[in-house]
Symmetry: C2
Subunit: 344 residues, 2 copies
């Protein structure tokens, strides 16, 4: 896609004023609007994977082909487009954001003994833990290579972001099956493991696009809220979602020992009952898992979590205040609303 | 240690002209000569580990406290000292080199299902695979943080080096228990997984010390040869070494499926016999492992491998030609000779 057509794709009359009637549909509309731009980023990622060594490349390609929302690269490109047309540098950073995300998924599947991801068996199920660890390392290196062409601040912040990602994962590991996990720790975990990379993506997009410093910070903040909202919805979906739509096993978090906000909220009204069920689940009682999930749903916890996600979305939208009025800004707002409303 | 005493430690009359009578003893002598300098680097590493999050920090600290030769930081500091006194920046990079090495060890133990390292149970045995994967990621991030203060070329080369390390590991994984592994592939593996980091350490030390470009390249080359020699000796020791001295299980490589040069050489004279024994080992026959080890030793393969290591050492020493005549240069030569002659 040429430089100019990329811009016009985001500024032209071809984009309807309101993208879809329902917020949840917006994300799909935005994705098709940005399809060509994202396919260039995907081609870049595929080329980077292909440069690696088999069998690590098979493992990485399997994960990549299984799809994904590509919401981090999308956010980065849109933040960039608020100030400048999307260029190769922006695409490279967008690819880096997705590669970091993919690297953490490969390592997470080893950490969590995960069996299913994006509707398919995990790479570690197909090629084993060893390949997944090394494939994750390989993708991380590719992300760093791509990131090294950026502004030195963006580059240093990428390393800091990796640190926050890993720390979030470690804190999560420590809290495995701890029903008494407090909300502050839960938010520490999701700010680290999810929001930090969204924050980096949006901030870097704005910076590389030439945004003034205050706007760079505001877009970073927007990314952070977006990431928290995204993870909150993900965690609600694990209890309320349709596995055919999410591509994950139902209650995957619970089975991997992850204590998320829906469970914490349900435990806050019936600690003993929920604790007992969690310890039964820990002992492999499949029936207890179903009972626990029903208990969480009937407690209204999922609705509470979605309400909290909408709060974060509102905060994210407020960060758009200083951003120049343009189509990319509107689309970014649609992405934020779409992520909060999604059902898969 | 003060700036001036660090220099005098490498330039003073306190250092004997020949460090020890036997090459193998030289490494210990050099290590005690550099003890104060290395302990500052170790303090830096310990501080970086402590900044992380438990239980990943426990896992990393366990590996760190188990010791190690610290030969990468040593090489980096000595290369630096050939041109300039050792300073905080050099110590930071030396710590980065060791942290990268430690990160690969933590991931390797997961990749190889390793049970013993440096005479102690591996971190993954004590805290599990999940913690080791994340602890490795954490150390990698700390290394990148430290590296980001360096010259941009040094920094970019660190990322390239990580890529080579991982690729070496992947090629090794692919060749598991392939007795027909050719020597070219074996050297590709060890150049990637071991020599690349030695190369980076020596080259970066020289560059940050202010060496002219030709010398920077020569020191990198020296590091590469040193790394190959180091790995060759390591691989010979796996068949000939005393487990009490090496701190590893005897035949650890073989048990992890790693086909190294001693085995390749032994197979080159008796392919069928060695193949049969390897497939028995693969099926868990402990007696076959002992027989195979004895077969490798009696074939003279270990002596051949050590001779090859001495060749690499000679090439390494030849790279010192353009280096200014100074004590650090002499000590570096002692390190090279010591590594080739070591028995643990």
């Amino acid at each position: 896609m040429s430089f100019s057509s990329a811009v016009s794709g985001l500024h032209d009359a071809a984009v309807p004023e309101r993208v879809g009637d329902h917020a949840a549909q917006r994300l799909d509309d935005v994705r098709s609007l940005m399809a060509r731009e994202l396919s260039e980023v995907e081609a870049l990622i595929a080329a980077r994977i292909a440069m690696g060594v088999a069998p690590a490349t098979h493992s990485a390609a399997h994960l990549f082909k299984a799809g994904g929302k590509r919401v981090r690269p999308m956010g980065l490109l849109l933040a960039h487009a608020c100030w400048s047309p999307i260029d190769d540098k922006a695409r490279g950073l967008a690819a880096a954001a997705e590669l970091v995300h993919m690297a953490t998924l490969l390592h997470d599947d080893v950490v969590d003994d995960g069996d299913k991801r994006r509707g398919l068996p995990t790479s570690r199920r197909l090629w084993g833990n060893a390949v997944s660890v090394l494939a994750g390392d390989l993708l991380l290196v590719e992300a760093l290579r791509l990131g090294s062409t950026a502004d030195p601040t963006t580059w240093r912040e990428l390393v800091e972001t990796l640190g926050r990602l890993v720390e979030g994962e470690v804190v999560q590991l420590r809290g495995r099956l701890e029903v008494s996990l407090d909300e502050a720790t839960y938010f520490e975990i999701i700010r680290g493991k999810t929001a930090s990379l969204f924050e980096w993506a949006l901030r870097s997009g704005a910076r590389e696009g030439g945004a003034p410093e205050a706007a760079v910070m505001a877009l970073g903040e927007l990314g952070g809220h977006l990431g928290v909202a995204f993870q909150l919805v993900d965690d609600a979906l694990d209890y309320e979602g349709d596995p055919r739509a999410t591509g994950k096993s139902m209650l995957a978090d619970l089975c991997e020992g992850k204590v998320t906000l829906p469970l914490i909220r349900a435990a806050s009204v019936d600690y003993d009952g929920v604790s007992k069920l969690v310890s039964d689940v820990r002992e492999g009682d499949a029936q207890a898992a179903q009972t626990l999930a029903a208990r969480v749903r009937s407690s209204g916890a999922c609705e509470e979590v979605r309400a909290r996600a909408l709060q974060e979305t509102a905060r994210a939208l407020a960060c758009l205040e200083g951003v120049p009025d343009c189509r990319a800004r509107d689309v970014l707002a649609d992405v934020a609303r779409g992520l909060a409303a999604r059902v898969s």
